[in-house]
Amino acid sequence: MSADNENCTNQQGYSMVYLILLLGLLIPGAAMAASLDELIDRAVSPVSDALTNIIFYELNLGFANIPFIVVWLVTGATFFTLYFRFINLRAMKHSVRLIRGDYTDPNATGDVTHFQALATALSGTVGLGNIAGVAIAVSTGGPGATFWMILAGLLGMSSKFTECTLGVKYRRVNEDGTISGGPMYYLSHGIAENYPALAGFGKALAMIFAVFCIGGAIGAGSMFQTNQAFGQLLVITGGDSSPLADYGWAFGAVIAVLVGLVIIGGIRSIAKVTEKIVPFMGALYVLVGLIIIISNIGALPAAFGAIINGAFSPEGVAGGAIGVLILGFRRAAFSNEAGVGSAAIAHSAVKTNEPVTEGLVALYEPFVDTVVICTITALVIIITGAVDPNTSMEGVALTSRAYASVFEWFPYLLFFAVLLFAFSTTISWSYYGVKSWTYLVGEGKGKELVFKVIIMISVILGASVNLAAVMNLADSMILVMSVPNLIGVYLLTPIVKRELDSYWGRYKRGELKVYR
């Protein structure tokens, strides 16, 4: 991490935050300089490169080199899938009934429903990972990356189940009546309750998690989001020659003000409007994708063939099949965040006496996010043949081009979709960040405000740096959250097992009360 923070007496983990804060202060003064974007890029790149090197440290498994973090996430997802005997698949039907409210007492209404908790968590995950992430995976790893993304999505469902069950089980009701939950709480309280000897270790994990979550909120939650939204704005205004090309900081400033109005000003109307439009945009995106796929139904078998072939015997991809697998798994993890722990924060507000029910509902998050939406995006990109062999890595621009080859007006719609997804994801992640921040520094309006300003600055920064630097930083920060999270989840797996066995037994014996 940076050594230029002589004033920084805080923990090592904060130095990154201070660096960004410092950069943010430069913005008003240097706003006239056209090369500001490059300046910021030069400043962020070394930080992101250093972090990327640590987090994507490659393990030599004899036959191939695989980044540690990918092995970590896939091992976790596979373990939970086997340990809970394919809960990801066998509970899907029951979980639909939970989401519909069939098991919810109609006389106890007004609190957060399963549907609402799932919808909120989804609005934090469905976003640019689905549109830009898939494009990156397919443009660098070929069609085969899609196969591994889908597989990672299916396995990731089990990780979500486990962490979200724990999120509800160890949530806290605060003095003011609000609910706080998530890895910070199950890592500290959960481990302390079940392994008294490891209480200090659990507390340390919780704090490490909170530090990384703050990084994730800044990187993937804010910077990456505006970066891609601005990218799409350039696409619809003339690409590289767009007159707006040098004004990333200005675009970022506008978004930062809007975000600030919601998270600091508490202007609910902006959030309300976004919440109404985001699901609609998501549905429209899927619908247009399906229309393109159905109107090219003849090309579908070939596309699936390319996905399967590309997954096992790719041509011209660095690292061969393993290289493709890594790309697919990495983008899936980034898109659905399974094992990362973020969703456990969002899911923990649900009204239920059975923590397992929310875990079962959470199964649908990676399913909708990765298995459904990412697959549609990938199929559209493959069917339309939009991949440009001369360009190495492309994000949202590739998706835009693929859709535009069928519907010319689509890039404009996509800009609004990307803008709204980016906005809602930033709002969600800023909340995760605030919860982690206050977990570390203590509750308080002033302390929250400091972090919210940092989020606004990151939004501006995100629109000013190039894709590679932002992507790497975002990836590193968000994925590394899974290290403390999964260590704790492994330790607490027997508790989830006990809860699940009890619940599933009652369900199978028909002892659960069904209200409709």
């Binding site: 409210g101 919810t104 109609p106 006389n107 209404t109 007004g110 609190d111 957060v112 429903t113 549907f115 609402q116 908790a117 919808a119 909120t120 609005s123 934090g124 009701v173 003011d176 009546g177 609000t178 609910i179 706080s180 919601v262 998270i263 959030a271 919440e275 109404k276 985001v278 699901p279 924060i345 969002a346 507000a349 649900v350 009204k351 709002i427 969600s428 909340y431 995760y432």
Partner: protein
């Protein structure tokens, strides 16, 4: 006539007129009156994580406020007038929830006021009274 009447109120003028109607027309009867206040709420809305975290507390606040400022005074008025009256507050879709409460309480009739909104507004947002008339399993009296 004896039996249970469900009186739906919402703190508005229409609800007050419905209350007057019930007092006037059922004065001499030995019936029970269930006063219901439905707080408009949908289980399928999209919220921010912040709203969800605060939801539990807000719900309690909403219930307390509705109880104290709307329901209690009406129940007290009815009791003072010699009726056997109880109160219910629930979150949900107004018309559907009233129908469900009527079924549970085995009410013989539902009485509500109407807002008297314009045709345009009804077209856009619907009307509790007209939806109720379509859904209810017992006679509905809408007080203008």
């Amino acid at each position: 006539m004896s039996g249970t009447i469900l009186l739906g109120i919402d703190g508005s003028e229409g609800g007050a007129r419905a209350l007057d109607f019930v007092k006037q027309w059922t004065q001499s009867c030995s019936g029970r009156i269930v006063v219901a206040y439905v707080i408009e709420w949908s289980p399928y809305s999209f919220n921010t994580p912040q709203e969800n975290a605060e939801r539990h507390r807000r719900r309690e606040e909403e219930l307390e406020q509705a109880q104290a400022s709307v329901l209690e005074p009406v129940v007290a008025q009815l009791k003072a007038a010699g009726f056997e009256a109880t109160g219910v507050i629930q979150h949900g879709h107004a018309a559907k929830t009233l129908v469900r409460i009527a079924d549970e309480e085995q009410a013989h009739m539902i009485v509500v006021g109407r807002r008297g909104q314009s045709a345009m507004k009804t077209m856009l947002f619907g009307s509790v009274a007209s939806t109720l008339v379509q859904l209810a399993n017992v006679p509905v009296t809408v007080v203008p």
